[in-house]
Chain length 263, copies 2
């Protein structure tokens, strides 16, 4: 295979908004090249946990996942969210298949070691089965991946969806050109956080370094962008950061911020 | 393909018993011919619904599925139960892939029409995509199917696992010999309901008619057996009814009750 593949990540903000989500899925279904959707969880896990009397603990935006919370995220991410996305895509004539990392062994991880903090049942990615993912794509299936992975011992682990998207893109990169698209609630990387229209159209390592040094880029974006450039250095052709509603244009490099190693 | 395929159904009683379930999965993983696992839900859906303040209504053993209950079964069957089965099978070197009917469009249904009773979001099977299931089997994947299907409009529907197993077996039958195995809590069809050892080793339409006429077979088994004979008439080679712990022997026709059209 040498056609370009889109690895597209959507966050909880889209999952939480049914209208925005339906609009997004309609556009996603229409992208004609092979594609993979990786989704976050949204607020439903926290809401469901609360209803079940399970307290949610977040540290730096990461969910502490004890055994009870692991069951909740397995239900919500792997079941409720994933299967509804798949059913909706099927209705849009998109042959979606919902997967966690455990299914067909596509993304294996190891439990994050306890250092200063015990994240609990949280996975650090060990291996992406790019052959299996490619075989799905070749047969016309569209993987829709929930943020869960598994260990060799058969334990499910809660896993960051951004990291799963970038690891998947990197693993597929030796086989065909990959564009990794992060859809979020802004139109791209902004030069002025108070002006939603101040999208920086493209970033190279050089221009990124300049923006970073001058303090133009929002601090919160820096870890995301650092990881995006790492994905480029590992063979991903483009990383695009865009608003979910601009996906159709962004997939053609015509919206959002396009990151690449070349000028 | 012309090798025999086992379509194996396990009920909630195994799902609800972690030790029995682990033992079952170990044996299932070791069956060397291609196989499909179809699982029921167990008590976890009812327990989870209760914790969420959602009342469970059962009529003749069937769950009335309103919108809130549909979300619960999607979480529990499609997420918690299905993904834990898959992760455990992966740890047993069995390349399981967890699916609902919506995934890769394998089992489509229509919402059950309201007659005297409104079952809510419950599906009657319309079509099994046998080509896709065969393609998974050919590539060495082991489908693990949750009791959920989907409509052409993208709505998930709660669906009876026994019916899904028999419809799957019938759909695959034109392509290769199929044995449909129902694992339950008894060692087979009993001639004396009070004697667990009184297993009838084999049944043909003739012997079944005789047993039925003489009242030997437990009333509760009759709908199951009627459906099993329908599956045989529709091309399934064998139907085997056995205890989950006897799966290894039953898969070779050496335990449980073996139903077939031939003497």
């Amino acid at each position: 295979m040498s056609f370009p593949v889109h690895v597209i990540k959507i966050g909880g903000n889209i999952i939480d908004n049914p209208t925005a989500c339906t609009d997004f899925l309609r556009v996603f279904a229409q992208i004609s090249t092979p594609k993979i959707l990786i989704h976050g969880g949204g607020k439903i896990a926290t809401q469901t946990a609360a209803k079940l009397g399970i307290e949610t603990q977040m540290v730096d935006g990461r969910r502490i996942t004890d055994r009870a919370m692991l069951d909740v995220v397995t239900m919500v991410y792997g079941g409720l969210v994933n299967k509804n996305l798949v059913a909706q895509l099927q209705a849009e004539s998109c042959n979606a298949i919902g997967l966690t990392g455990a299914d067909a062994g596509i993304i294996r991880s190891t439990k994050r070691p306890v250092k200063t903090l015990d994240y609990g049942f949280v996975g650090d990615i060990a291996e992406v089965n790019s052959g299996q993912l490619n075989s799905f794509l070749k047969s016309g299936l569209i993987p829709v991946i929930a943020p869960l992975t598994f260990t060799s011992e058969g334990v499910l682990l809660n896993t960051n969806a951004d990291t799963m998207a970038s690891a998947t893109a990197v693993a597929l990169a030796p086989l065909q050109p990959i564009s990794l698209i992060y859809c979020f609630e802004k139109k791209g990387v902004l030069s002025d956080p108070d002006d939603d229209e101040s999208v920086i159209p493209s970033l190279t390592p050089e221009s990124y370094a300049t923006f970073k040094a001058s303090g133009v880029i929002n601090q919160g974006m820096i870890p995301k962008l650092d990881n995006a450039f790492k994905a480029l250095e590992s063979g991903v052709k483009w990383v695009i950061i865009c608003h979910a509603q601009d996906l159709a244009l962004a997939a053609e490099g015509k919206a959002g911020t396009v990151l690449s190693l070349e000028k």
